[in-house]
């Protein structure tokens, strides 16, 4: 089974840990990735605030490249990239005129036929069916599944999970033996793109997310978005400074947790790259 993969900027930069765990899982389950050649920026937070055509053309080019290369299914591990790609596909499907315009802009053919999967959908479809037989070390921890904002939104477009109380990650985690706690902060804002410009806001918001998870006795926060991870993990010292606390709860990618459960080493799934030490293995 061969998929296209769109890494976006984070998977080869700040989220190399995530990238490593996704590839490690794929290898363990005999799934193959083909990186979309000549891929470009998805537009991220900036493009859709500046120029609508640009914000659609950037993801559309990525999708058009996937089509050209015969990649029917693309996995997009970054939740932000995922959201941009899916929204673009949907907008252009709804509006044929706009689609033609974007084709002109790109000077490329674009049909919008590729199926875009986020990491949970990909796990659901290709990992879960063969998961049971591979589990060697059940992930026996209390976990707080943190979805953030982009994985399940806009819900009318994604039509994928309950936007206010999503469940899919909890289900995946319970399949590897974890105990997902009741966690009301699962879709609260982490500060998102203020990661760089306003760390004080990130510290305030992410601090609450971490506090509630610790308060409820979670051993780890599970995420599926590089942005969430960097705010909760990389900014931990800022958070602790802001709240005058000593939060130690680790932040683990869902793919890392599954990797550990099937016996992959913590190096293999990139745990060594975290800022907050992960004492889970």
């Amino acid at each position: 089974m061969k998929f296209g993969i769109y890494p976006g900027c984070s998977l080869t930069g700040s989220a190399r840990d995530y990238n490593e765990s996704v590839f490690a899982l794929a290898e363990a389950f005999d799934l193959e990735f083909a990186q979309i050649p000549d891929w470009n920026c998805c537009g991220a937070t900036a493009a859709h605030n500046l120029n609508k055509e640009l914000s659609l053309a950037l993801p559309a080019r990525i999708l058009a490249l996937a089509e050209q290369n015969g990649l029917d299914e693309i996995i997009v591990p970054c939740a932000a990239c995922y959201s941009r790609l899916v929204v673009t596909q949907n907008e252009l499907k709804k509006n044929p005129e706009l689609k033609n315009r974007i084709r002109e802009v790109l000077e490329m053919d674009y049909h919008g036929t590729s199926k875009i999967l986020n990491v949970i959908e990909w796990i659901d479809k290709y990992i879960i069916p063969k998961l049971d037989e591979k589990i060697v070390k059940p992930f026996n921890y209390k976990v707080a599944c943190y979805y953030g904002c982009l994985l399940v939104r806009p819900d009318k477009v994604l039509n994928y999970d309950r936007a206010e109380d999503p469940q899919t990650m909890d289900i995946v985690m319970s399949k590897i033996g974890a105990d997902p706690i009741y966690y009301p902060y699962k879709t609260e804002c982490c500060g998102a793109g203020f990661s760089v410009s306003r760390t004080d806001i990130v510290s305030k918001l992410s601090g609450k997310i971490i506090e509630d998870a610790e308060h409820r006795g979670a051993d780890a926060i599970i995420v599926a978005c590089p942005m969430c991870h960097s705010n909760l993990d990389m900014r931990r010292s800022d958070i602790n400074k802001y709240w005058k606390t000593e939060y130690k709860i680790p932040v683990v990618f869902v793919t890392q947790a599954i990797g550990l459960a099937i016996g992959l080493s913590s190096e293999k799934v990139g745990l060594k790259r975290h800022f907050v030490e992960v004492k889970i293995s």
Binding site: K156, R162, A163, E164, D165, Y182, P184, D212, H215
Partner: protein, 667 residues
């Protein structure tokens, strides 16, 4: 030779703003057979109608086309005007320039071109119309009221008091509806049961009312004045005549753990039960789904203890066939179950309840005999949060409409709480306060100013539990969108009012329209709010949209007047737009070959067999014949008939063919 008169209406500016009415009138005036073509600002007004009447006489018109609004709006108006002008009313057709053209297109040549086409089609059609006489049908002067809530009760009593018979059917074991569950009513705070129960008793005792509880509509056939209704009387598993309603069986029933519907699940009831103490009729029924005898085949304790031997375990459902002249639908509403809003935590925490559950808590006859206690531990909540618009006015996640009653009952709830828990704090999160109505706004002000309920304008994003308390996170938009967090002991959700369960199914049985939310649809939003699109079927109460008690009662009385008006006539006239089997081509009379495939498509059993006999009395041919009393004019038989032997008045083969050909060709 046809002489058609065409009357183009401007509808004020509703049509003329985008359609060049002058050009339409001029172009149509040049068409063959059009003897007169004119335009006027308001055709439906008195001078407009006079214009038509005079033109009919002056120009010896043989047909009239009024190009105005939808025929669904004013066809009867203009047909009547034509009749008054001396023209058979069925020689009048309407061209829909407003809803189908001027309101949906921009002002340009294409729109005017379309308007001309719309009128042309009707000109071609009306040339082929036949002068028809209305069909007369008798009226059965018995009404059926479906639903025994306050709207049904009011309607039934009003009809019965005009001297006509009423059959009331109610699917639950007692009449009373949601009103019987309420504690106090706004804006007067009088006790709901105190004002309702006398009415319930009056229904039961009225000589003109026959009450069937635990009964549902099985099927409805026929038409205005002549409905044939089958109702299913579900087996109550006891003989109502023998039973005295002593209630001994209900106290001895060993199965006691069934969530009590009347208490909104906040209490339990046995398998044989009287829904509430003031129930009418005050006789128990056995809930066979939960009764130990029906599940396990053993028990029968109720039979043993019954002093009058009234229990009948083998009682079957009974189907009654009734002849009904008019139907009032008063099936009420339901509330949207709050679990569709996972972020509000309903269903996850016992202390998050909905509005109807709060009514039961506050009711003197409720599970706490009127004390406001937390369902989880029976403690008095010190802090209580009411969330208005939980699902209403929320097109993204809930429903787009305003449920209308929640602002008022939320104010009432907060007030009732404050009256009972003086030291407690009540918060209301609201979007707007909609308190139009007599003494309504004063009532809300009282809650705020006298009872010191904290009204916070803003939405709640989430409610979750932490350390045994409910954390309500919201926003106060009047304080510059400040996030607000309230630590509450109990949360009450004013969930949206939605169509009652089974409404869609009932609408389909009745052949009446319903809207996208499954509420029954009125024939016209302003001018026919009580009628449905099916003649002889009327609406009362919240089955149409969420309504409070005064509105429901007013509409119920309105529906009663409609029924009484209908019953004041001995005969009704019906539009003669029915199918007909041709009877030409002697000697075999009719080209029908008698395959009777039409019989199997007819939904009304309106197609009969007609034998032709020769002189010796031998049947030489059998052909189809339409019973015009039963035919409703759907025309499915017409399209199916291979030899084109059936046609439909008003939509004849010649007419529809002419419309297609005329539309697409040059003129």
């Amino acid at each position: 030779m046809a002489r058609i008169g065409v009357f183009i209406c401007h509808c004020g500016e509703n049509i003329s703003a985008t359609v060049d009415c002058g050009k339409v009138a001029e172009t149509i005036g040049k068409l063959k057979h059009v003897a007169y073509s004119t335009e006027y600002k308001y055709m439906c007004s008195d001078p407009g109608q006079t214009l038509i009447k005079e033109a009919i006489k002056e120009h010896k018109l043989t047909g009239v086309v009024v190009a105005a609004c939808s025929p669904r709006m004013h066809e009867p108006t203009f047909r009547k005007a034509c009749a008054e002008g001396g023209l058979n009313p069925f020689l009048c057709e309407m061209a829909n320039l407003r809803e189908h053209c001027s309101w949906v297109h921009e002002k340009n040549d294409l729109t005017t071109e379309k308007a001309i086409d719309i009128v042309r089609i009707q000109v071609e059609k009306v040339k082929l119309n036949s002068a028809l006489q209305p069909i007369r049908v008798p009226v059965t002067k018995t009404a059926m009221v479906i639903g025994g809530g306050i709207a049904g009760i009011q309607s039934a009593l009003d009809i019965a008091n005009t001297g006509h018979k009423v059959i009331m059917i109610e699917r639950s074991p007692s009449i009373g509806g949601h009103m019987s569950q309420l504690s106090e009513t706004f804006p007067t705070l009088d006790c709901s049961q105190c004002i309702l129960t006398p009415r319930m008793v009056e229904v039961a005792q009225h000589p003109n009312i026959t009450l069937y509880t635990y009964a549902e509509v099985e099927s409805v056939e026929g038409f205005i004045g002549n409905f044939k209704v089958k109702i299913r009387k579900k087996a109550k598993s006891l003989d109502e005549k023998t039973c005295t309603g002593c209630g001994l069986c209900t106290t001895k029933c060993p199965q006691k753990k069934i969530p009590n519907e009347f208490e909104q699940g906040m209490g339990m009831r046995p398998a044989i039960y009287i829904p509430f103490p003031q129930a009418v009729p005050n006789r128990p029924v056995i809930d066979r789904e939960h009764c130990t005898y029906y599940i396990k085949g053993k028990c029968k304790i109720c039979e043993i203890v019954c002093p009058t031997k009234a229990i009948r375990f083998d009682q079957p459902d009974e189907i009654l066939e009734l002849e009904i002249g008019a139907i009032v639908v008063a099936t009420g509403f339901d509330i949207k179950h709050a679990d569709f809003f996972p972020e509000y935590g309903y269903g996850k925490y016992k202390d998050i309840i909905d509005g109807l559950q709060f009514e039961r808590l506050a009711s003197a006859s409720g599970p706490t005999t009127g004390a406001i206690l937390r369902p989880s531990d029976g403690q008095v909540p010190k802090n209580i949060v009411f969330i208005a618009c939980a699902g209403s006015r929320d097109p993204a996640k809930g429903i787009a409409y305003c449920s209308k009653i929640c602002c008022m009952y939320t104010a009432k709830h907060a007030m009732l709480y404050k009256h009972k828990v003086h030291e407690g704090k009540a918060y209301v999160f609201y979007m707007d306060i909609r308190s139009g109505g007599k003494n309504y706004d004063e009532f809300v002000r009282r809650a705020i100013e006298e009872d010191h309920v904290n009204y916070i304008r803003g939405r709640v994003s989430t409610v979750f539990e932490r350390d045994g308390k409910l954390i309500v996170k919201g926003v106060d938009t009047l304080l510059g969108a400040q996030p607000v967090e309230i630590v509450a002991d109990m949360v009450v959700l004013a969930t949206a009012g939605v169509a009652n369960s089974g409404a869609e199914d009932l609408a389909q049985k009745l052949h009446v329209s319903y809207d996208a939310h499954k509420f029954f649809a009125e024939a016209h939003p302003k001018l026919k709010p009580i009628e449905t699109n099916t003649a002889g079927i009327f609406l009362a109460g919240a089955c149409q949209n969420p309504k409070d008690i005064p509105d429901s009662v007013s509409q119920a009385s309105g529906a009663a007047v409609k029924v009484a008006g209908l019953f004041s006539q001995n005969e009704l006239t019906r539009e003669p737009l029915v199918a007909v089997v041709n009877r030409t081509a002697p000697p075999m009379y009719s080209t029908c070959v008698g395959c009777f495939m039409c019989q199997s498509v007819c939904p009304y059993q309106a197609i009969e067999r007609e034998d032709f006999k020769n002189r010796e009395g031998k049947i030489v041919k059998t052909v189809a014949k339409i019973n015009e009393g039963l035919c409703q004019g759907c025309g499915t038989c017409v399209a199916l008939c291979r030899s084109k032997s059936i046609d439909l008045y008003g939509y004849s083969n010649n007419q529809v063919y002419a419309e297609v050909v005329a539309l697409l060709n040059e003129y």
